[in-house]
């Protein structure tokens, strides 16, 4: 973004107190760690204000000042708290060097409208800081899990070795446990069996129904839509309770009357239950894609002698494919992630990965869970990227087709 406002240097009377306040804030934490928060505030404020004064009035060279601050605070950090302290110090130094000149040169107004009052400028940045804090809240739990899964100890917290970035403190043993432990492997395999089959069922039926619903002459469209989406709205615990009663009767019928294998019946029950849960997602995404679909294309195809099946696969399918795939991914992750229903409907031989994690969290809590969690995070990042790419592609495709 280009500069909106011409910038000018600010008086020391504004810069120094602000820098001192920021320094005091940092000093409070350092001081609290060393024993006295109050002393920390005083030293931090004095040090930073002094630095700012020296840089502005005496040194007047931004690049040199930056290196002095970064290295200086890095050394102080190293002296107080070792290697980790040094990294914190380097980062703090980088921030303060930036912050002092950002204020002094008036760069903070560069991208704002020129007529804003000082209060409004402050409000603007205060608001950004709050938003930043909320983003941190959103992302921290995920970021905390990643390094902890490499812990060499069986603890759920950062050990001193890890904080010193000592290679001794890290290991892959939880991952090894996941890949060698029978329990985990079996549940992983179960998840890989159940989720794809459930996804295929919900995608096939869901796409058909979405196409049917998109035609203009469907009687009771609203009611049908309501029924089809209801598995997403009804709380899982209620769906699970209902399915528990119902599928145990069905299961008894299949086993007793038709003489099917108990294990096989168990899989059928869980797959059917998961397929139902995935359907709303398919319906919603495919319907959304179909909104922009030009019906005259299918008429044109029919006009040229293509049958309905051929029209569907040659014309309609390629255009709505992105929506279908992203609906399928939603359905997949719903099933892959689902624990309440499988807990109620399935039996021990259908134990899925989330179920295993759930029992692990409730009973014998083992750090292998964190390794599994990390693997799942990686999977979800991959899925998220796929969905995002598909969305862009879909928009591009629809942009090309005549509106």
């Amino acid at each position: 973004m280009a500069a909106l406002t011409p910038i000018s240097r600010k008086p020391l009377s504004m810069v120094l107190p602000t820098v001192a306040a920021a320094g005091g804030f940092l000093g409070m934490f350092v001081g609290a760690g060393q024993g006295s928060a109050f002393l920390g505030i005083l030293i931090g404020a004095a040090l930073m204000a002094g630095l700012a004064w020296v840089y502005i009035t005496i040194l007047d060279n931004e690049r040199v000042a930056r290196w002095i601050t970064i290295l200086g605070l890095g050394v102080i950090g190293l002296f107080f708290a070792g290697f980790t302290g040094m990294i914190v110090g380097l980062l703090a130094g980088w921030f303060f060097a930036f912050f002092i000149f950002w204020l002094y040169e008036g760069r903070y107004r560069q991208r704002l409208l020129p007529y804003l009052t000082g209060q409004q400028v402050f409000g603007h940045y205060f608001f950004r800081v709050i938003c930043g804090a909320i983003f941190v809240f959103l992302i921290t739990p995920i970021l905390v899990v990643l390094p902890l899964s490499f812990n060499a100890q069986d603890f759920f917290t950062f050990t001193p070795e890890m904080l010193r970035l000592d290679p001794e403190g890290y290991s892959l043993k939880h991952y090894r446990d996941f890949f060698t432990n029978n329990e985990w492997q079996r549940s992983f395999k179960n998840s890989l069996i159940i989720a794809p089959i459930a996804t295929v069922i919900s995608v096939t039926l869901g796409t058909l129904a979405a196409i049917g619903l998109s035609q203009s002459h469907v009687p009771g469209r609203r009611a049908i839509m309501g029924i089809l989406i209801s598995p997403m709205i009804v709380p899982l615990i209620i769906s699970a309770t209902g399915m528990f009663f119902f599928y145990s009767d069905i299961g008894r019928f299949l086993e007793g009357t038709l003489g099917m294998d108990k294990n096989f019946v168990g899989y059928i029950k869980v797959v059917l239950a998961h397929a139902v849960l995935g359907i709303p997602f398919v319906i919603i995404t495919v319907t959304a894609t179909l909104v922009g679909f030009d019906q005259s294309l299918t008429r044109a195809a029919a006009n040229m002698g293509a049958g309905p099946v051929r029209t569907f696969f040659k014309i309609q399918m390629p255009l709505i494919l992105p929506g279908v795939i992203s609906g399928g991914l939603f359905a997949f992750i719903t099933s892959f992630d689902e624990v309440v229903v499988v807990l109620f409907v399935g039996s021990a031989s259908q134990k899925t990965l989330p179920w295993q994690m759930f029992t692990g969290l409730r009973e014998q809590i083992s750090p292998t869970i964190l390794a599994v969690a990390t693997i799942l995070v990686v999977i979800s990042i991959a899925l998220l990227a796929t969905v995002e790419l598909l969305r862009r592609r879909s928009e591009r495709l629809r942009g090309l087709s005549p509106a």
Binding site: G33, I134, F135, F158, G226, L228, I238, D249, R362
Partner: protein
């Protein structure tokens, strides 16, 4: 019709199970099926007199029990009646063997013999319980679900020490409201920022919202368990910074705070996404116009921007509230005993106490609340407008 296969599938594997749950919550055939003759004989007995039923009832009871013991159904009846009156289960189990050896044709009269086997059969209350719960369709489970019970004198409230469910319903509603409120507070500034930043930056920041949204629920729950523990990341950091003394670590797990913090985090994306899509459509010219006409920042926000963003708040709130009210996994893991929801009670009755009727009744009440909210959601937003990602 292309819709038909799916509609049938959903009807068969989703709507029918829910209906069977509704049915379960009032179904009570077990007393009549197991003790048909006794139930009939009890019709002539007036339980308000406080006297024991006469020989005819005992005779019918012995005949019923012999059949029931052959089919091994008497213990199931015992545990059914145990939900209503503690001690019934063991009474049926213990009397079973001796009653089974009797011969209804020759061994009568039975009244004293049966009372000899177990004192409980000499208590008019026992028979009153059997009679009260003999109809095939009962409101007993629903009365239990709201801390009342079915008695010969009509519905009465449970004794003080058994009244937990109303409190649990209240807590579920209260905590869902708190979670919804904190989601609004956190989501509003973020959605505002995302809607007003240039597209490229906001798409990047959107990843920070979508990543938690796509991450497995159990991953996030386990992350919160790791963070909130006594020896967890938050406490360790606070102790390291010296903000909290080592012996006064914060108790933020296994109570309401733990549930609220974790669930707010988990449900936050569901609030941000609808808010963002509404705020995106608010034209920035309106606020500029207001400012150019001399409105202060606050007036501009409160009179111009906020009213236009209300649909987003409404949509997000109902969505979050619906999701929160039925949550099971997260409260179960980080909620301890003080932070659990009504759904945890349902799961307990399904898998531990096996009182399925009560579980179904609780589920039905919860379902009714959710359906009401769903209807509101449909009125405000419309189910066709639900968007994902």
């Amino acid at each position: 019709m292309l819709v038909a296969p799916l509609l049938l599938f959903v009807l068969f594997s989703f709507i029918v199970p829910i209906a069977s749950m509704l049915f379960r919550s009032v179904e009570n055939g077990i007393v009549q099926d197991t003790l048909p003759l006794t139930v009939e004989a009890l019709q002539n007995w007036d339980e308000t007199t406080g006297e024991l039923p006469d020989e005819a009832v005992y005779d019918a009871f012995v005949r019923d029990m012999i059949v029931a013991i052959d089919n091994k159904t008497h213990t199931r009846l015992g545990s059914r009646l145990n939900y209503e009156e503690t001690g019934m289960s063991s009474m049926f189990r213990r009397s079973g063997r001796k009653l089974g050896k009797m011969d209804p044709e020759t061994d009568g009269p039975f009244k004293d013999q049966v009372i000899e086997i177990h004192d409980g059969w000499g208590d008019p209350n026992t028979w009153a319980v059997i009679k009260t719960h003999s109809p095939a369709v009962t409101n007993g489970y629903f009365l239990n679900a709201v801390d009342m019970r079915r008695t010969p004198e009509g519905a009465q409230s449970q004794p003080e020490d058994k009244q937990i469910l109303i409190k649990l319903f209240g807590r579920t509603l209260f905590m869902s409201l708190v979670i919804t409120g904190s989601c609004i507070l956190l989501a509003y500034p973020v959605s505002y920022l995302l809607a007003n930043l240039p597209m490229r930056v906001s798409n990047l920041l959107m990843i920070l919202v979508l990543l938690p949204f796509w991450t497995s629920l159990l991953v996030r729950t386990s992350a919160w368990k790791v963070m909130l523990q006594q020896q967890g990341v938050i406490n360790e950091t606070l102790v390291w910074l010296g903000l909290v003394a080592d012996d006064a670590r914060l108790v933020i797990i296994n109570n309401q705070i733990g549930t609220i913090v974790a669930m707010t985090h988990i449900l936050l994306p569901f609030m941000i996404l609808p808010m963002y899509s509404v705020m995106q459509t608010i034209p920035p010219t309106y606020t500029r116009a207001a400012k150019s006409m001399g409105a202060t920042n606050w007036t501009t926000f409160w009179r111009i921007y906020f009213p236009q963003s209300i649909p987003g708040i409404g949509a997000g709130s109902i969505l979050v509230f619906i999701l929160a009210i039925g949550y099971y996994i997260t409260p179960e893991i980080v909620g301890g005993t003080k932070g659990v929801f009504i759904s945890n009670r349902i799961a307990y009755h399904i898998s531990s106490s096996l009182n399925w009727g009560l579980a179904a009744a609780l589920g039905t009440i919860l379902l009714a609340v959710v359906m009401l909210l769903y209807w509101c959601y449909d009125k405000i937003v419309g189910i066709d407008n639900v968007k994902l990602g």
